[in-house]
Assembly symmetry: C2
Homo-oligomer: 107 residues x 2
DNA sequence: TCTATATACCTCACCTGTCAAGGTATATAT
DNA sequence: ATATATACCTTGACAGGTGAGGTATATAGA
């Protein structure tokens, strides 16, 4: 009982930003934790995740830096910016509005 | 304070089907009534509406027939099929699931 | 008479986010 | 040696939404 990509489209960015509010993290972990949070009902596909990172960084909502792993695969950590926090609040309001509108239309 | 197209993507079909549950209707009217229901917060764009009609008819979720206007512009009426009603119930569950998942991820 | 507005339909080209499929590299367990 | 897990990334195709454009009927106002 998974979720189709079309109903989630446009929510990828707020999902990532929300996660980064809890602290810096890296792609692989963000992906895993989103799956865990939703009991495997929703999985952000890797390609979707990384293209979203590019967009978010371009828009200066997040910044990135390489972790200093001395062992194992390298990690690129992401950090939410203050602009990112502001935009996240708007995304959150958008989601509340969307819910209200769709609850009106889908009965 | 409108709604972006990406967050609505994938909800066009359930919105139309939900409306047709109330009775047969035609494009122009469906559009107007959706605007009214949402206090002009959401407007289904015409191009979106008509391409959705094509998809829904192709999938046999709706059927269409010409109204018998003897005056004024012709109208093409749409009617939801029983298959359409079934699929609508699935769409509705999808929406409930989407809400639950996004409420978990967007705090 | 001409123009604007409302009703009512429709199509096409473009844009954008998603994702399957492919790739690279490190480390550990069998 | 091989498989699996971790961790990163890009590319090309796809599909739904939409701006812009078109057609036709009817009415109200200048």
């Amino acid at each position: 009982m998974s979720i189709t990509s079309d109903v989630i489209r446009g929510h990828t960015e707020p999902i990532i930003l929300a996660h980064l509010l809890e602290g810096d993290s890296y792609g692989y972990q963000i992906n895993k934790e989103i799956m865990e949070k939703t009991n495997n009902l929703y999985e952000l596909k890797e390609a979707t995740l990384y293209t979203a990172f590019r967009r978010l960084e371009q828009a200066q909502l997040i910044t990135s830096y390489w972790g200093d792993q001395e062992v194992g695969a390298r990690r690129r950590y992401y950090s939410i910016t203050s602009k990112g926090r502001d935009v996240y609040q708007e995304y959150k309001k958008d989601w509340e509005n969307t819910k209200a509108i769709l609850d009106t239309l889908i009965k």
